[in-house]
């Protein structure tokens, strides 16, 4: 088993800095998800750990050993590539067997090892096929099998579900956590899919432009995103973002939403009088009867029933559009003038200029405001 530690990694290509003084620690047996848009430096980071490219500055420790200048074949990691990177001239069996051959295992041990991992990944029946005769899902499983077969203490998975169809992606999203947990390996998993990140990660590192913007548990990333960008990346439908200017009255700090004062509970003293953005998750909004304190009048524009939830697009009196999400089967109005209320738990306040979240580290609480 092996922990992974990156210290002050810098990687430049020509004049462009791809990784900018990045440090990261992954505990033994932990699954860390690297999440971020393309070009964030996730894949480069993974390749640095694998040893196929070298950092310009910084150190890489695997299991406590300095591996910065160690060649890829001696690092003992397993890696699955986004594009599968199967060897086209070898059968699936030979593909999976390559890490065992490198260890000079006996033919019997190789056969047993390949067959057991193939059975686990349900590709035992296609082991004799060449990669071009495999479906995308089988290719992906073969690539994964090749990464797993040597039981490496550190597994690097570069968006392995990117190139497979939606059904298989959903299945694998369910299977993978158990598979990885059974192995007990330390895992670094790269993805651009926030659901995958939430489902697989013990912790998530959100990257953009070569920097880790936030590192935390899936719960933390969702509840307390460090900035607007991260709040927008996690969640479907995306978070509602409205420009507000918090003010203070005798009862505390409040924001005005459609002439309804909504009081905020939190350390927002610095926000008073500044241009801010309030973030409201669609599922934190609910339809209420008129006259209830904090009820905000809106007009229903459109309603989209998804399988497990219904998403309603509403327009406020000031013409701002808001998405409201409710579980399927719960009552709601699909047209006309209605009222919505803000749930007290998950409203977020961001600074308008910098995009950073304001307030304490704790979950922001927000009391339903009362009409002034």
């Amino acid at each position: 088993m092996a922990s992974l530690e990156l210290k002050n990694i810098v990687k430049r290509y020509k004049s462009q800095t791809v990784l900018d003084n990045l440090s990261l620690t992954v505990a033994d047996g932990e699954t860390l998800v690297l999440f971020g848009p393309s070009g964030a430096g996730k894949t480069v980071l993974l390749r640095l750990v694998a040893g196929v490219i070298d950092p310009d500055e910084g150190k890489i420790f695997i299991g406590g050993d300095d591996m910065t200048d160690v060649d890829a074949e001696f690092r003992g990691v397993g890696m699955a590539f986004q594009n599968f990177a199967l060897f086209p001239h070898m059968s699936a069996f030979d593909n999976i067997a390559t890490p065992l051959e490198a260890k000079r295992s006996s033919p019997g041990a190789i056969k047993a090892g390949v067959e057991s991992v193939a059975k686990l990944l349900k590709i035992a029946h296609v082991l004799s096929h060449k990669p071009r005769a495999l479906s995308n899902g089988q290719k992906q499983r073969t690539a994964l099998a090749r990464a797993l077969v040597g039981s490496p203490p550190l597994l690097l998975l570069d968006d392995p579900l990117r190139n497979v169809d939606a059904k298989l992606r959903f299945e694998m999203r369910l299977e993978l956590p158990r598979l990885l947990a059974d192995r007990g390996a330390t895992v670094v998993y790269v993805t651009q899919d926030y659901k995958e990140a939430m489902a697989l990660g013990d912790r998530i590192a959100v990257m953009s432009q070569g920097v880790i913007r936030q590192l935390g548990t899936p719960e933390q990333i969702y509840r307390e995103p460090a900035n607007i960008e991260i709040a927008r990346l996690f969640g479907d439908p995306t978070i509602n973002l409205l420009d507000v200017k918090p003010a203070r009255d005798t009862r505390g700090i409040y924001v005005g939403l459609s002439n309804v004062q909504v009081h905020l509970a939190g350390a927002y003293d610095a926000a008073v009088g500044r241009d801010c953005v309030i973030g409201l998750r669609p599922e934190a909004l609910s339809f209420v009867e008129e006259g209830i304190p904090g009820a905000i009048p809106v007009t229903v524009e459109a309603e989209t029933p998804l399988n497990e939830k219904i998403v309603t697009l509403v327009r406020t009196v000031r013409g701002r559009e808001i998405l409201v999400s409710r579980p399927a089967g719960t009552p709601g109005r699909s047209e006309g003038k209605v009222h919505i209320a803000v749930d007290g738990k998950s409203a977020l306040l961001f600074d308008h200029a910098s995009g950073d979240r304001l307030g304490s580290k704790n979950v922001v609480t927000l009391r339903n405001g009362e009409a002034a």
Binding site: V52, G78, M79, A85, P88, H89, T98, A102, R146
Partner: protein, 285 residues
């Protein structure tokens, strides 16, 4: 789907026939000449109907050339062997040197790598005659003139750039991730080169080798200047048929037929690879 009318197909067929006749005519004519005596060849107007004779081929194989001035010894079979030996050895040496070099140029961008690669290619731009004069002087000093080693060395000017640039394109076409995956699996870079890069670039290497073989086989000027009779390939050896008593058209034709047969056979056999190799070289240039 493309629909073609009957007229279109007939016209296309005629056009193709014309092109084939145009390009094949010299070869067919030479083939016919090789079965004629000098008298029938030189008759005016030329005749399509003649009595075929194997005299030309017999003369080449036995090495005795009968002319009006008497019997002349020719070393055609020796020349043919020289051609085979020089071409095969040159291509083998070029592959041995060029394939690893091509891999290095494809995979490792070191300082000046493009300049070195281009310099190697530029050997093909230089007129051979320009290189030959200083080369002859050096070779005479070094004792390499009129040796197989010297000739094979000079033939590298023909084979090496060709192999280097074509094979490099093939290596660059292999996704780097495939090689990374093998190395992460625990294999050395040399094992990766042998087990992954070489097999995947195999068709390209074969195509480059065949092309280099044809170019080496067809070379004339290097061998003309640097080799004497016993080391000459067929291209130079054919000059022996221009004798004091006249040009032996019949024997020259037979010699040409015999000397293009191996390359023609090779080219036909490996046609698919050759076209792939040529076009890939062009794209990757």
């Amino acid at each position: 789907m493309e629909h073609t009318s009957l007229l279109e197909r007939i016209l296309r067929g005629m056009a193709l026939t014309l092109v084939v006749i145009f390009f094949m005519f010299p070869i067919v004519w030479i083939f016919m000449m090789s079965f004629q005596t000098n008298e029938t060849i030189l008759r005016i107007p030329p005749q399509l109907i003649f009595e075929p004779t194997l005299a030309n081929y017999t003369a080449l194989v036995t090495g005795k050339l009968m002319t009006a001035a008497g019997t002349l010894d020719i070393a055609f079979m020796r020349n043919l062997w020289n051609s085979v030996f020089l071409s095969v050895t040159s291509v083998a040496v070029s592959l041995l040197l060029g394939v690893p070099a091509a891999y290095a140029f494809a995979r490792h961008k070191f300082r000046g790598s493009e300049d070195i690669a281009f310099t190697l290619l530029s050997f093909k731009f230089a007129p051979a005659l320009l290189v030959l004069l200083p080369l002859t002087l050096y070779f005479q000093k070094l004792g390499l003139a009129n040796t197989y080693v010297g000739l094979i060395w000079v033939y590298q000017l023909i084979c090496l750039p060709l192999i280097l640039w074509i094979v490099r394109g093939y290596f660059e076409d292999i996704p780097a991730d495939i090689e990374y995956a093998y190395r992460i699996g625990g294999h050395s870079w040399f094992a990766t080169f042998r087990k992954i890069a070489l097999p995947l670039a195999g068709p390209g290497i074969a195509a480059a080798g065949l092309l280099a073989f044809i170019f080496a086989w067809n070379n004339f000027v290097f061998a003309l200047v640097l080799a004497s009779a016993d080391k000459q390939p067929v291209t130079v050896g054919a000059l022996a048929f221009i004798t004091s008593s006249g040009i032996q058209y019949g024997q020259i034709s037979a010699a040409i037929v015999l000397s293009i047969t191996p390359t023609l056979a090779l080219a036909l056999y490996a046609q698919r690879y050759l076209v792939e190799g040529l076009s890939l070289g062009a794209v990757k240039g």
